[in-house]
Symmetry: C2
DNA sequence: TTCGTTCATCGAACCGCTTCGATTTCGAAC
DNA sequence: GTTCGAAATCGAAGCGGTTCGATGAACGAA
């Protein structure tokens, strides 16, 4: 019932406490005979060193902190998985803080990171965080932004070129002859969404005669997509957009569903482009054209960048890795 | 650049270290005047106590451990979110260990839980874990199983009645006149899947003339569902099942897609029932009938159960909460 | 004035481990 | 048989907090 401590192991092996510690952590400093004895004593007793004590003394936690906007979204789930890949390869663990779209929680997590002395933090920011991030850095904790870019140019980051993504989507629609475009995005305050819209605007501006109507929704659920699809379907055909760029596949799939249920044909009447290329995009009722973002790879790259900074391996130059998104064309924009 | 410790706060406030600790943690023991002084000193310096030190002395970590089979699956994502709800209401944090379908990782996480002295563990087991769980309990760490039941009857748990779920699905198909059923499940070694099959078998056994063909796939991705759907479509109509129960919505949605792409009508030729009722079930090309499991609620309940045990509030009786699943009927089994 | 009480504050031990410097051991060289 | 140096082992000092018993201050009662 009582915890097994290093003392118990020492006693059982008939050596001193420090020899146990050395045998376990720096075996080259201890004779083979004793290493064996200590190891088997530890095994028999089921000794597991207490992280808190190790950390307190050694000043290292072996932990990376990572905040994500919403873990229930598979995009972020993949990102985390990627970061875990890289971390475990370096013998580190990842402490995941899920913000659930809540700025307060997000800040709490950053404070927690400080409390537990994470050795580095991967931050996929939701709200404005400059002061908090500055503070982590002031404490000597390196930070890498994920799916975001630091405006001040002081933090390394791994992100997607969202302007290019939005542009890609809109250009594709324009190239298939659509002219009355709409952009449906959730929450204007999110940078990624704003930039995708901006990209779409650039594409439209280059096409005389084309127009772009921005539309904002509250959240990014498929339900809202459905509602919005029905709403669009209710407009007169002349008043309807003939091509829609969305900020998210959930929204897009719902949107397509809503349109079709009201008799609007996709892609013949309205073409739809999603964003993220989640698993379901390919097998939706109308397979969805979407902008793909390799989330897992991004998570891994970000963690590697962070580990390099922790290890001091990184050049002083801050890496700013930017992935270029890729358009996956499917039936929702191309009539067969 | 240097960490701010309790000493720095004490110095700044002109009091002793112990007074700082008391003012911050047990303010009723300290005069108001000093509490104020200490608080503002702490604020100005940005003092954040070091978790490792607190924990080492106090023996409490304020952490719950939680292992999940695969965080990329929204079902588990929701479960985690539910647990976090309950934990944060009790001032605790959740340390999430993602097993990624890997027994070794799962065990590592349990060991980590011991190292960091979590005060309780929520375990959604993937592989066999008895010895490890016993050990946690031996260390005085309460364990609650999530989405699983303890065969030995010693651990409290929160789970779904998977037998009932499988039965529900099969009975529904039978009641719509289907007779040649198939059960498509991933990985026979997973208890949940076995029990769903068992439930389906019970339903079929009660219907003379009905048959059930079990089919196993490697993993549970929509891709495999598509492949399998095409395979079924290739059979001669007489040899095809006319109703299919799946162990997972991803599989089911892919399956429907595969069938339709090969000209098999759903539900006219083949009816399909999914499992989990994920968000996309409702807006799939053919909206999917599915067995709903309230994951978030389950996560919350499990955490509450665990917290009660930690607090000693729980009666000695081990709670075994079993949720009954619910069938959500949609177009994939009911021609309109 | 002295003493007893209460309440606020402080000093110091301690949580379990790592690590550094000190001590012991042992074989080789004299 | 000493002496010396290197290698193996050990003792003890913290890491940064919490907490308990001790100390001191303030005040009313004798």
């Amino acid at each position: 019932m009582k915890r097994v401590g290093i003392r118990d192991v020492a006693e059982r092996a008939g050596v001193s406490i420090s020899t146990v510690s050395n045998a376990l952590n720096r075996p080259h400093m201890v004779s083979e005979r004793l290493v064996d004895r200590v190891r088997s004593a530890a095994d028999q007793l089921g000794y597991v060193p207490l992280q808190a004590a190790q950390q307190l003394r050694a000043g290292r936690s072996g932990l990376l902190g990572m905040t994500v906007i919403n873990i229930a979204n598979p995009f972020f789930g993949d990102m985390v998985a990627g970061a875990e890949d890289a971390a475990s390869a370096a013998g580190m663990r990842v402490l995941v803080g899920n913000s659930s779209d809540d700025v307060g929680k997000e800040r709490d997590h950053l404070e927690l990171f400080e409390r537990v002395q994470v050795e580095g933090a991967l931050v996929s920011p939701f709200g404005p965080l400059e002061p908090w991030l500055q503070r982590l850095r002031g404490r000597g904790i390196p930070v890498v932004l994920v799916d975001a870019i630091d405006d001040t140019g002081e933090l390394p980051s791994v992100s997607f070129d969202d302007v290019a993504g939005g542009r890609l989507a809109a250009e594709h629609l324009l190239s298939t002859g659509r002219r009355r475009l709409a952009f449906v995005g959730a929450r204007e305050e999110v940078r990624q969404v704003r930039e995708r819209l901006q990209g779409a605007r650039l594409a439209v501006a280059a096409h005389p005669g084309a127009s772009l109507e921005p539309i904002w929704t509250e959240r990014t659920t498929s339900e809202l997509g459905v509602a919005f699809g029905e709403q669009v379907a209710a407009r007169s055909p002349a008043d309807r957009p003939d091509g829609i760029v969305t900020s998210n596949d959930h929204l897009a799939i719902g949107l397509v569903h809503g349109l079709i249920s009201r008799g609007v044909r996709v892609p013949d009447d309205v073409a739809v482009v999603g964003y993220d290329d989640i698993e379901f995009a390919a097998i939706a009722g109308v397979p969805l054209t979407s902008v793909r973002q390799p989330a897992r790879e991004m998570g891994r790259t970000a963690a590697e960048l962070l580990l390099a900074r922790i290890g001091g391996t990184a050049g002083a130059d801050l890496g700013n890795v930017v992935y270029r998104p890729e358009l996956i064309v499917r039936a929702s924009t191309m009539s067969t």
